[in-house]
C-alpha cells in the first residue's frame, strides 16, 4: 500500500509541477507589452459634452444596416434599445447618482490595444485589423462565445434568436474609415461629445482638456493605460468616477497577460508536452515489459 501511495504522490507532485511550472516563469519574464500601430485610430468621448440626444445611436444603425430594437411587439414603435445587443452596436446610457448627479455614457467596443476577445478566439475570427480596429470575420467564427465571456466590457453581443447567428460589435465603421470617412456616431454628434482621430492626437487632446479645466473633469483619462490601453478614450465629469459609468477597474495589465504568459511558458515550442509524451511512452513500455513476462507466466 505505502509504496503505491508514495509513488502516486510523487507522480502527482511532478505532474502538478509541470502544470504549475509556468507560474514562476510567467511572472519572471512577462510577455512583451503590445503597442497600438503608428496609424492607430480611436474615439474620444467627453461625457461632460454629451446631451443624450441619441443621434449617434440612430446613425450607427443606419450606417451598419442594423434593424431597430422596438422592445416588445406592442411596445413603442420607435427604436428603443435598453442596452447593447445583437441589434445595437452603440448606445447612450444615463447614470443617475444618489446625490442627484447625472451623466450620459456612450457604450461601444473599446478597441483594446491588447484585446481579450482576440486573444481567446480559436481561429482569429476577432483580430486586430488595420489601424488597430478590432475586426470580426464571420467566415471564421464558430460561435463559441468565448469572446463574450472574456471581454471585461461585455461588448461582443450574440444573435440569440436566429438559426444562423453572428457576433455583433462595433467595428468603428471600418467600411467608412477605409474610404477616408469617419464613424457614423462621430458624424452625427451635434456637440462633438465624441470625436474621431489618430490615437496619439486624441490622447494629447484628452490630457489637454484635463489640464485646462481640472474642475470640470474627473482627473483621469479612461483607456490611457487601463487594461493595457484602449483605443476609445473617456472623460467623465468631476465627482463621477468611471466605475459609475460602467467602466471596470482593470489595472494597467492587459487581460491576456496572465493566460498567455502561462500558456507560453508551459507550451513554449511544444517542448514540455513532447518531453512528457516521451516520458509517458517510456513508462508504458516499461509497464508492458514487467507486466508481460516472456510466455504467459506469472509475475
Amino acid at each position: 500500500m505505502s509504496p503505491t501511495r508514495r509513488s502516486v504522490l510523487k507522480g502527482i507532485a511532478s505532474a502538478a509541477t509541470l502544470a504549475a511550472s509556468g507560474v514562476p516563469k510567467a511572472f519572471a519574464a512577462p510577455r512583451r507589452r503590445k503597442t497600438p500601430p503608428a496609424d492607430a485610430v480611436g474615439l474620444l468621448y467627453d461625457a461632460t459634452r454629451c446631451i443624450g440626444c441619441q443621434a449617434c445611436v440612430v446613425k450607427c444603425k443606419e450606417a451598419n444596416g442594423m434593424p431597430p430594437d422596438t422592445g416588445t411587439p406592442r411596445g413603442p414603435m420607435y427604436d428603443a434599445p435598453d442596452d447593447l445587443n445583437a441589434k445595437t452596436k452603440n448606445i447612450i446610457k444615463l447614470y443617475k447618482g444618489e446625490d442627484g448627479r447625472t451623466s450620459f455614457m456612450k457604450a461601444q467596443c473599446m478597441h483594446c490595444v491588447d484585446p481579450a476577445c482576440a486573444s481567446v478566439c480559436m481561429i482569429s475570427a476577432l483580430y486586430k485589423g488595420p489601424r488597430g480596429i478590432v475586426v470580426y470575420d464571420p467566415g471564421k467564427c464558430v460561435g463559441c462565445r468565448y469572446c463574450q465571456t472574456a471581454c471585461p466590457f461585455n461588448m461582443p453581443k450574440y444573435e440569440w434568436r436566429t438559426a444562423f447567428p453572428k457576433i455583433v460589435k462595433c467595428e468603428m465603421c471600418r467600411h467608412l474609415v477605409e474610404k477616408g470617412g469617419i464613424p457614423a456616431c462621430v458624424a452625427a454628434c451635434p456637440r462633438e461629445a465624441v470625436i474621431f482621430g489618430g490615437l496619439e492626437t486624441l490622447r494629447a487632446d484628452a490630457k489637454g482638456r484635463l489640464a485646462r479645466e481640472p474642475k470640470r473633469y474627473f482627473p483621469k483619462v479612461y483607456g490611457d493605460t487601463d487594461g493595457g490601453g484602449t483605443q476609445v478614450l473617456y472623460l467623465s465629469a468631476a465627482g463621477i468616477p468611471f466605475g459609475k459609468l460602467g467602466l471596470p477597474d482593470l489595472g494597467d495589465e492587459p487581460l491576456p497577460e496572465l493566460t498567455e504568459s502561462l500558456q507560453h511558458a508551459v507550451y513554449q515550442g511544444f517542448i514540455a508536452p513532447v518531453a512528457l509524451y516521451a516520458i509517458l511512452g517510456f513508462a508504458v513500455y516499461r509497464s508492458f515489459r514487467s507486466q508481460h513476462p516472456r510466455k504467459g507466466g506469472e509475475k
Binding site: T4, V142, T162
Partner: protein
Amino acid sequence: MSRKAQAVGGSILTWPFIAALAVFALCLPVLAWRFLYGLGPTTGMNDGFPWGIWIAFDVVTGTALACGGFSVAILCYAFNKGKYHPLIRPAILTSALGYSLAGASVIIDLGRYWNVWKIPLLWNWNRNSVLLEVALCIMTYVFVLWIELSPAFFEVWEEQEKYPLLCRVARWLHGLLNRYLIGILALGILLPTMHQSSLGSLMLIMTTKLHKLWHTPLLPVLFLSSAILMGYAAVIFESALADEVFDRPRETKILASMSGIMVVVLFFFLGVRLVDLALRDRLGLVARLDFYSGMFLLEMALFLAPALLLLSRKGRNNPGIELISAILMMVAGTLYRFDTFLVGFRPGPGWSYFPTIPEMAVTIGFVAFEVLAYLFIVKKFPILHTGAPPHGLDAATPKPSG
C-alpha cells in the same frame, strides 16, 4: 491468464434500456427546435452568461467525470501497477462515451457549428487561445479513446466466421493497433493532462468577472487534480453499479487501494486550494459568510467528507462507505466546476442565468444515451471482468512492441 473480460450477454431490450431510450427521445424535439430557431428561445443563456450548462456540465464536468480511463491509465501504465488492469476496459468505455457526448454537446452549443472544420487547419490557429488547445486535445482524445477500446470489438469480430471479410479486417486492424499501442496509450495520458488543466485555464482571463475565491493562477493545477479525482470516483461508482446490476464479484481489493490513492490526491487538492487562498490573502472572503463563501464552504465540505471517510482502512474496505465517498467526490468536483463557470462568474449587474427545462432535457437526454450505449456495449462485447482476481496478465494486454 486466470481470467478474461467477457461480454455480459442477455437481452438488450430490458426495462432500464427502454426507460433510458425514452428519456433520450425527449431531447430530440428540443434539438430540432434549437437548430431551427437558435439558442435564445431554447436556453437560458444570454449576452451576460453566454455559457450555460451545456458547457459547464456537459463539457467541463462531463469530461472530468469521464476521466476514469485517464486516471486508471496513470496507475496502470505510468506507475506500472498491473493490478488495476481489470478496471481499465470499463473505465475506457465510460470515458469514450462521456467524451463523445461532450463533443456532441459542443456542436449543439456552437452557434456557427458549420465552421467547425476550420479549427483543425494549422494555418488558422491562434496559438494564444486556450480554447483552441482544449478543442484540439478533446477532438484527438475522442479518437484515442475509441482506439484504446477497439480491441474489445476486434476480439468479437475476429470470431465472426460467418463474415470472413469482417474477420480478416478485424485481425489486421488488431495487429496494426498492437504495433502502435504504446504510442496510443501514452497519448491517452498526455492529452487529458493537457486539456483537463486547460479547462481551468479558460477562466484565467476573466480576472474581473470570476469571483476572487475561484480565480487563481493555479486553476490548471486544481482542475487537473480534481479531474483525476472525479475519474477515480466515477470508476468506483460505475463498478459498484455494474457489480450490482450484473451480479458480479466485486473488485474489493483493487478498489480499496485505489480509494487510498484518492485520499492522497484529495488532500493535495485541498492543500493547494487553501494555501493558495491564504498566500494571496483571500481567506477573508470566506469569513464574509455571504452567498459565495457559502458555496465555497459547501464545496470544501464535499471534498473533505470523502477524504475523511476513506482515511481509515476500515472505511476503504467497506463497499457502502466507498460508494458514498465516490458519489460525494463526484458531486464535489461537479460543484467546483459549476462554481468556477457559473456561480462565481459575475458579468455585471442585471445579468442572471438559470437553465431552461428544454436545456436541461438535452443534458439529461445525453446522460441517458450514455447509459443506453453502456448497457449495449457491455452486453455485446468483452468489457467487464469475471472470475477470480487476476495474476499478472489480462486478455486485453497486448504484447510489447518492438
